[in-house]
């Protein structure tokens, strides 16, 4: 989150919003936010969202995610939302959406992500 310059904008049961600003170190060769950075932020949003529905002593691990990049990730600001579609004792499924926010406040959907997450209990060093 620090590397990404991101912050939690909203946390509720099964839903998390992360906001971040464009930064030069995060861009790819065309000057947009790199797909991997978008993925990192959306994966984090989904992981946090899932963890809000897990036991306190549980950790969350991402098993897999798929991201669709819908439009160039032009900022200067970005909002990522993670929502749990199906909570589960072992396996949870969450969906993420990312919007680019222009200087005039106009928003554009730039990416969707679907993640499969696993609840992990009792492994040393793995706590959310």
């Amino acid at each position: 989150m620090d590397t990404l310059g991101a912050r939690l904008a909203a946390v509720e049961a099964g839903r998390v919003v992360i906001e971040m600003a464009w930064a030069r170190g995060l861009t790819q060769q065309h000057g947009f936010l790199h797909a991997g950075m978008l993925a990192a932020a959306l994966d984090s949003a989904c992981g946090y969202a899932a963890s809000t529905l897990m036991p306190e002593d549980a950790g969350v691990l991402t098993i897999e995610f798929k991201i669709n990049l819908l439009a160039p990730a032009q900022g200067p600001r970005f909002r990522m939302e993670g929502v749990v579609v199906k909570p589960g004792r072992t396996i949870s499924v969450a969906e993420g959406r990312a919007w680019g926010i222009a200087g005039d406040g106009q928003e554009k959907l730039i990416a969707t992500l679907g993640a499969t997450l696993m609840t992990v209990v009792g492994r040393d060093g793995i706590r959310h």
Copy 2:
């Protein structure tokens, strides 16, 4: 690539290898390399691999990718390989694999990624 501390270790027609070292800023809450950083490097490897089979004046855009995280991304070093499975005039498909490399040189498969990439020609500012 700079943010990730990554470098190109091999480039051939339809195949690219990227190597990178573990760095604290790239880790998630459990101390391992963050999934998004792995994804960024694997996506880059796949994109470079696809671009080796495209016309010189073409750019490559990732439409989507899916990543499976197989094991904790413990380094201290990592190797990412991108290989084109199906080159195409408009759409190409590539697969990526990431290995963690321990201090004694032992390698472990930590992630697989499948990407769909698009050839882009003649848009300003989009060149590979």
Copy 3:
């Protein structure tokens, strides 16, 4: 659609609903609807949804899709919805959701699907 015993329940711009009934030939080893059959119906719903936003002489091809299986696909009836998230001249992205419908009418989300679709114009034999 015939093999699946499916029918179009709703068609509007960017959204299609397909309904189908459970049938023995479509089940896997546990007696539920097979994941592939769910995928076939959801992919069809997404493809139809995308085609509603394409030129009349264009065809639609699925480039890729990912499906998450959330719960056993118990019927006896099923509803599949395909919605276009991002229409595009060449590439469109759609999302599908499937619900199992019990005898008492209660619905349960059983699968989500995300598809990348391509507009195809002027290839013989490919018309939607």
Copy 4:
């Protein structure tokens, strides 16, 4: 498998091959094998492959899969291969590949699939 007209051509530890013939009921609107049918067969191949590495009393459930459709699924015959990339106590990851086989025996890669599978033990009615 019966609906698909498929048969097991090879079964070994962590790898399964399924062969099937083209049939009119399985095609989509362009006359090729429907993506969902390809997905059904590839998912089955991956599931069987994973089950070969699981305890005898365990069942296998597909959590999710992604399929890339690389070329029109022209037969008249097809071969699907499922290979376990990462076996696990709870979660396994497998990859599938499908080839179309022409009348003269020439093969063409038509689809790749990546699946996440779960080992299920001790639930009634779920046995592989």
